[in-house]
Symmetry: D2
Amino acid sequence: MIQVGVNGYGTIGKRVADAIRAQPDMAVAGVAKTSPNFEAKVALERGYPLYAVDAERTAAFDDAGFDLAGTVDELVADSDVVVDATPAGVGAENAELYREHDTPAIFQGGEDPDVAEVSFNARASYEAARGADSVRVVSCNTTGLSRLFAPIAEAYGIEKARVTLVRRGGDPGQTDRGPINDTLPDPVEIPSHHGPDLNTVFPDLDVDTMGMKVPATLMHTHSVNVTLEREADAESVRELLDAESRLFVLPPELDIDGAGKLKEFAQDAGRPRGDCWENCIWGDSITVEGRDLYLFQAIHQEADVVPENVDAVRAVADTADREESTTLTEDAIGLDG
Amino acid sequence: MIQVGVNGYGTIGKRVADAIRAQPDMAVAGVAKTSPNFEAKVALERGYPLYAVDAERTAAFDDAGFDLAGTVDELVADSDVVVDATPAGVGAENAELYREHDTPAIFQGGEDPDVAEVSFNARASYEAARGADSVRVVSCNTTGLSRLFAPIAEAYGIEKARVTLVRRGGDPGQTDRGPINDTLPDPVEIPSHHGPDLNTVFPDLDVDTMGMKVPATLMHTHSVNVTLEREADAESVRELLDAESRLFVLPPELDIDGAGKLKEFAQDAGRPRGDCWENCIWGDSITVEGRDLYLFQAIHQEADVVPENVDAVRAVADTADREESTTLTEDAIGLDG
Amino acid sequence: MIQVGVNGYGTIGKRVADAIRAQPDMAVAGVAKTSPNFEAKVALERGYPLYAVDAERTAAFDDAGFDLAGTVDELVADSDVVVDATPAGVGAENAELYREHDTPAIFQGGEDPDVAEVSFNARASYEAARGADSVRVVSCNTTGLSRLFAPIAEAYGIEKARVTLVRRGGDPGQTDRGPINDTLPDPVEIPSHHGPDLNTVFPDLDVDTMGMKVPATLMHTHSVNVTLEREADAESVRELLDAESRLFVLPPELDIDGAGKLKEFAQDAGRPRGDCWENCIWGDSITVEGRDLYLFQAIHQEADVVPENVDAVRAVADTADREESTTLTEDAIGLDG
Amino acid sequence: MIQVGVNGYGTIGKRVADAIRAQPDMAVAGVAKTSPNFEAKVALERGYPLYAVDAERTAAFDDAGFDLAGTVDELVADSDVVVDATPAGVGAENAELYREHDTPAIFQGGEDPDVAEVSFNARASYEAARGADSVRVVSCNTTGLSRLFAPIAEAYGIEKARVTLVRRGGDPGQTDRGPINDTLPDPVEIPSHHGPDLNTVFPDLDVDTMGMKVPATLMHTHSVNVTLEREADAESVRELLDAESRLFVLPPELDIDGAGKLKEFAQDAGRPRGDCWENCIWGDSITVEGRDLYLFQAIHQEADVVPENVDAVRAVADTADREESTTLTEDAIGLDG
Ligand SMILES: NC(=O)c1ccc[n+]([C@@H]2O[C@H](COP(=O)([O-])OP(=O)(O)OC[C@H]3O[C@@H](n4cnc5c(N)ncnc54)[C@H](O)[C@@H]3O)[C@@H](O)[C@H]2O)c1
Ligand SMILES: NC(=O)c1ccc[n+]([C@@H]2O[C@H](COP(=O)([O-])OP(=O)(O)OC[C@H]3O[C@@H](n4cnc5c(N)ncnc54)[C@H](O)[C@@H]3O)[C@@H](O)[C@H]2O)c1
Ligand SMILES: NC(=O)c1ccc[n+]([C@@H]2O[C@H](COP(=O)([O-])OP(=O)(O)OC[C@H]3O[C@@H](n4cnc5c(N)ncnc54)[C@H](O)[C@@H]3O)[C@@H](O)[C@H]2O)c1
Ligand SMILES: NC(=O)c1ccc[n+]([C@@H]2O[C@H](COP(=O)([O-])OP(=O)(O)OC[C@H]3O[C@@H](n4cnc5c(N)ncnc54)[C@H](O)[C@@H]3O)[C@@H](O)[C@H]2O)c1
């Protein structure tokens, strides 16, 4: 059993913890939180040992009647691998702590690439991460594009890719985020940071990205254009993508027009938290004009990096190869494509 | 086992079906749908016999590869009780069908009160519904107010109640509903229909309601004022409400500011579809000034009527009294207040 | 001519400047801004002398090619009255500056009441402000309620008022404000600060207020209940309110359902910036049940305090009585009720 | 004076009427409306003769106290040119009426191209429309792209263009339009109808378009990619676009991040209804990578077709050439680039 500590039990951390617990070869050593809110309550109800991030704020947990197992130092000491899911930028501050304890660490996409040795995507860079001391699971958007581009590059070659990322303004519980009624070029500069971030996974990919932000909370939506090196037709692209376990090609008869119904479908299917771990690609949108491939995909920002984090744990622990790991991960959480 | 047919397998119907299956004394005889969309797919995956509403549209189900068990007539014939969860107004059209088969029917709040013998709320009018041929589970908003007013009326008496209902514009998957950026008095006329609807449950309640519609999809939010007949203090009101199983008084330390975090809490706790079956009352908002009680509550429109429908089945089947039924219902679905 | 300096040329300040320029007895001495954005550009195009708030940031104006007339100190020195429309809390910091120059100052509703001698509403507290050294124009919401309650109190007496304020999350250009998809009790505590703020204008008014925040940018919407001391009927209340120049009772045939169409009407009518200076009361919503009066009103947060600021200038300069001032103000800007 | 009748006095029609009245060589013969709402009231206040669309509904105008000048037949008979700004699809039904009276007609982009002889954009197809019996001003989105592509094609040649159109869900007053919290591929199929519509103006342009719909009301936002035939650099593209009177290249120092601040700038500048008649292109977004040009532009859907309609009137009346007409139009309404 790989003992995994989760530092930062928020949107990403709580999902990763549950996914790790579901694995046959892993256990949750504990989770660390800064404050005793509803997520701390759920952590305890789930039986996760709860650690305080800040020794000076343990009193707040006592007041709320929440038992602490210790502080984050102890959690790191007791873990074989740490998943750091703290807010963007905090991971870099924590890196020293993990090094002190010689505990391999998985960081998230909010950190700069140089926080870790390897930028990780299970489909595209698993092997490079085996045995590393630190990896960074790339962001939700970069994960979504990595999964899509890897098979396309293999099958047809990518001459150039152009992506517009229409991003959700905030997660559903982030009530202080806007915009309320606007569509923002964000960033205004082109390319957005997503292109360069993709290049940390695919160094030679020629890709230009444009980012926007809109008043929606459920998912990001990408309009994707790939100029292929070799001819293709829409049907064979559809089949190629359909064969990837972390890509879900939406059949038109399901009558799903956006993220609202996608999440509803996931909820109805019994997925925990209505999580869509896969990229959701509209089957009807897959179009090829000459060598230009086009499609729309939706990315559940809270969920798609979750299986990647699980695989990243096995990669740094070096206990499985890519195929073993991804199969194990998916079987355990019930991701059946 | 009470065999229950669910006619109309949409937002409400699918939740009611799952809640009925969870009961020890009930079984889902089948569910009827008009079209083979994602919800039909889930129905089959859950093993619910699927019936076509319209004999002329069975071909569409065949095309989508969905096996039908028959048409809705057969479902009604084979059911001890039917729950009608078709769109507002369609229930009334279906009433004749249920009468023909002499099958007791549960209608929803989108129907006019005269569709059924009794307007039903488990807390307030269970006994009146025992053995009835037809009952109407009142709407999500009326259900939320009935649960709140019943214990308050018993404990303190209600001289007059005034409620502003700030309603969600549409459910999360209803992408054709607005408004996008507006707050609408809706209806402009006062009282809104909610007051008279409450009077179908509490004939003597003096209540004035005002309705609005806003660009939100997750929950309705009520600002409630009750002028009590007898003096009270906030703490004892809090305790009174806390003791009701279908009222959840939010403790401030959970740090939940709105419907987004409420749904997240429900999802984290493993609730199916993140459903909040209870009224969610902000504990910190419970205030008494003189004989005026004030509070805010959020109502998950998709979920609060679900346990009520289950109880309504037992009421018309007359197999349990109120306390037996509500306890059974709650234990079976995991509603622990 | 009263020379008026406007310190803080943002949402409120720019509107107040234009309204002051329109008056026959006032002139804009200049406007002060912190940074050279689009509003600074417009200020210069309108011919307002532009002053830098911060002597250290004048270079930024130079870089943008914007000519400065000086710094805020000089503006205050050259003004007979200063309108401070800086962000909430900054006004209090500026108070000392105004005192040093012995320049009477008008503050805005974002400041605490004790920033000024008088809490000002033209309809309700004009006389108290005459000749004062400092007044605070109460907030957009308090202004809207003051205008409504003053005539009602005079005509029927107010036994008790209860208001739910459904507030816009942010102004149209405030793209960093949420919520995106939620309805927030805000504040959760009852009464919200609006009740006590009203009491700075009407010390004896018995009023309880409840605040919410929603994903809309155009206007606040109030659901108002007033228990009258004397009997009334809806028609006479409608006439009473209709006779007030700063209350606009919406006739149903205009077919205006919310703030979107209200702003469109104002734009169509040629109002600058589509400003609705008046409270907009839905005529059809005015209802009386017993001694309980109910109605809905929309408040254009960016605009309703504008005529009040103009009147406040005359009040502190003590150059006109209430009726003279409000008539002058309204004629000059084209507010014809 | 060209006498212009405006049939359909809604979002587009009322703006076109005001722009026509502002022209030195045109007059508004009258405007036709279906119902006596707030827009009818404004039409009368502005002194436009008001015609009823439907002879059977004149009573409603009488009831509202609105004087009618006649019915739409008479308006068409008395006009030299008719601008049809009725809802999408209604224009085609009206075509016969205009033919009967031998009145040249301008249709809008909601109609199919075959409603008229020419698809009109002032910059790109003015000459083709001179003396035509009917033209269709292309939609807001197609207008925005036509204005952009015309100068780029002339200066650099367009090898291929790819555009993602992130469209507003509805206009500010359209409170029944969604989505509330979703980003919809709309249409899911690629290319969206915008590409083929562009080809009615530029028959040889190789362009692929992808459409989305988001919960925003103010403007559409386009992410544009153009593969140029000849090399270019960002600075010269910026200058090229800046020189076009109907393209507004946003300087970064104005600090405008989206449609909210854009509209506020237009309002502050005194534009009627805060209308942005020009494409608004973020200067900082103009980027060239190799022969790939990228940029973001915002399109005020309610406004950009207004000057085009004015020019279309002169084109069918054949009273001016393109340059004369566009200069006249812009000077008259105050469009100064
Ligand atoms: N939310 C998303 O959509 C998303 C998607 C992909 C990647 N990410 C990345 O994942 C990381 C976590 O983001 P999130 O959305 O889960 O954030 P979050 O705010 O939901 O959760 C962060 C958690 O860390 C805790 N925390 C704060 N400071 C801490 C500290 N010093 N030490 C330990 N814990 C601390 C917070 O209390 C919170 O529980 C970020 O790098 C983010 O960029 C987020
Ligand atoms: N959604 C809510 O928030 C909510 C809350 C409380 C009560 N209700 C009430 O519940 C009822 C159902 O609403 P819903 O939101 O579940 O609607 P829905 O549209 O989500 O589901 C209705 C289902 O009925 C099916 N249907 C349509 N016509 C039918 C017919 N003739 N026969 C059988 N099935 C048919 C549809 O295919 C769909 O699956 C309505 O009365 C509504 O007012 C809804
Ligand atoms: N916006 C509203 O809806 C509204 C309604 C009523 C009252 N108010 C109140 O009016 C006041 C102004 O609010 P606003 O919405 O106009 O804010 P705003 O942010 O739109 O404008 C404030 C302006 O002040 C400038 N500024 C910032 N710091 C300054 C300083 N130290 N000195 C001088 N200028 C400075 C800013 O650059 C900006 O131009 C606040 O008290 C607010 O609470 C606002
Ligand atoms: N609103 C936009 O964003 C936009 C942008 C560009 C083009 N257009 C196109 O402009 C046209 C008008 O759209 P709009 O947004 O102004 O619509 P609208 O609904 O705002 O206005 C249409 C007007 O026509 C009137 N009308 C309805 N039926 C009529 C009839 N039979 N005869 C005469 N008048 C009738 C309505 O009362 C209304 O006043 C459509 O073709 C639309 O596609 C709209």
